[in-house]
């Protein structure tokens, strides 16, 4: 009985150990970036607002983004939410770059067609959403320079009555 118990114990411990090690985060990110991303996730878990601004990232409002689109300025709009939310509704022309995917694999940025000097506008579901600040910080770490953060996200866009798109 004793040995059975001990085996059970060690199996459980081994599984937990494997899982804490097997946590796949791309090693390209600095410890500081990972820490920041975790802070955003903790804010999200505690249902708190994200920081007002992020160092090295420009805050933009929905009006500004709209005028850029209207002026046909060359920008890349990044939607950082999960696929189902994106398909339900997103800002027209937005490219999907999910924060979880980017955290697992930094190549996802290139695969999404991003270039280092692109003007990027990242958004998700507003001030309580951890995804767009996380993506902004990760992209910064990867060497992207012109990052704009639509902190109030899709809700602000929708409130203004600006057009949205559905589907993939």
């Amino acid at each position: 009985m004793k040995s059975m118990l001990r085996t059970g114990f060690s199996v459980a411990l081994a599984i937990m150990f494997l899982m804490s090690v097997g946590y796949a985060v791309d090693s390209k990110y600095s410890a500081d970036t990972i820490k920041k991303v975790d802070e955003f996730k903790i804010l999200k878990r505690d249902k708190k607002d994200m920081p007002e601004s992020l160092p090295g990232v420009k805050n933009i409002k929905a009006e500004e983004l709209k005028s850029w689109i209207d002026q046909k300025k060359k920008i890349v709009i990044l939607d950082n939410r999960p696929a189902d939310e994106f398909e339900k509704e997103h800002i027209p022309g937005a490219v999907r770059l999910n924060s979880d995917d980017l955290l697992d694999d930094s190549k996802k940025a290139e695969q999404a067609g991003l270039k280092k000097d692109d003007i990027i506008a990242a958004y998700c579901n507003g001030a309580k959403c951890w995804r767009s600040p996380a993506v902004s910080v990760m992209l910064q770490n990867l060497g992207y320079k012109n990052i704009n953060w639509l902190r109030d996200g899709l809700p602000e866009w929708v409130k203004k009555g600006y057009p949205t798109a559905e589907g993939k």
């Binding site: 937990m16 899982m19 804490s20 946590y23 929708v158 203004k160 009555g161």
Partner: protein
Amino acid sequence: MEEKCKIEKKGGWSSLLKNEDWLAVWLGALIIVLILASYNWKLIDLSKINVNFKWTTDSQIALRTAKWKNSIDPLIKEAEAKGEQGTVIRLQALKEALDQGDRKAIVKAAGKVENIGGIPAELGKEIADRSKAETAKTLKWDNLSSVIKIGIAFLIISSIGIILLGRSIGKYIAGFPVVFFLAWLSRFLAGNALPSDWGIEYVIFALIVGLAISNTVGLPGWVKEAVQTEYYIKTGLVILGAGLLFFEILQAGALGIIQALLVILVVWYCCFWLCRKLKVDDEFAVMLSSAVSICGVSAAIASCGAIEGDKKKLSYVTSLVLICAVPMMVLMPWAVKALGIPDLVGGAWLGGTLDTSGSVVAAGALISEPAMKTGVIVKFSQNALIGVAAFILSIWWTFKKGAAAGQRPTAGVIWERFPKFVLGFIVASFVFSFILPLDTVNDTKKALTELRTWWFALAFVSIGLETRFLDMMKMEGGRPAAAFLLAQSFNIIWTLILAYLLFGGIIFAVPDIR
């Protein structure tokens, strides 16, 4: 010749596999590990574990339409005042969809309102969730097959424990499906829009269903073996640990211990004094006082052991505790809501007064998740003190009776009486707060909550099934019962005052529990 309670000498390694508390820990741990493993290696689709119980009939939707439209109007006005054109358009579209009454269109329009954020989003979500919940969906095969799979998995896992406990496994396997079906039935009935509007949750249905059977047709013998309130609730509580942050436990636990000490000392003495006034004998008085002040059945058992009391008196106290718990666990949450008592204070109140862990969870769940969590932590703080109380009692009793009689009390009783499943609860919380990555914690939360709810539902049905009001009539001599009820009333008032002082932000900051 009366039968005496003995100080049980169980312990050593074998108790790890023979004691219900420890088995609940292993069972809970096994379930948590299985969920984590299947998350990590994608063995099963965790979203399948989430059974859908919500259902709203077409006529119920129609009945709600007017109420919803009334909630939308002020939101439109507010948005107009702020110049939020997009909000106005979406809310109006939702109103139109409600007028037409096509559920799919309502879901779509409400979904668009959800993306506005803020208060409109909450309303949108409510409308979308209700309209989505077509009755047929809950009874569809893929939903029901999830239920059946969970049931089979639970039966297999819990049977291991039943075998180790040396209980009758054949009867357990026969009875378990009945209890599980009743748990499903309670959750299904509670999933309808009408009871959920009234705030009547599966807890109530589980109790009613159980009580109805045990107090009318009676429980068939072959089901009895599967009525294992303690076993189910303890397993669920170990899993609940995974959903609580460690610092929440520390915060509320510290306050809980202060409250527990004050409740135990004052209420114990008060009940004992009342018993003497009512000329209840000392043996009875000790058991009753411990049951009221500490935590019902387990405290009564511990104190009976400590004073080597009469077993018949113990079973009288036990049935008293169980019967008294049922009305209390329904009325107290109702009072919390009706009087506008803050959730955490309400939780601490329940945790301090209700005598069984199961009733604390049941009553807490009727208020809110934070209330339930606070109640459980406070209850645990109190439970943890059973051993200490038993120790002090046995010393006192030995002095009273003269040192010659009986065994000498040892401090070992403090550990022997410690509710071991509390350790499982604490370890689970520790692992989920500090060791596992945040994503794992977040992604497994829903599945673990669902499974824990199933254990709780099984326990609540069992409470109903084992509570027989008829037993109350059979009890001879009303005086111990009167003392118990009086002391319980005092307990209720005193604990409410303490809960307000400790958890209401008066002496200490309000703990942060979600």
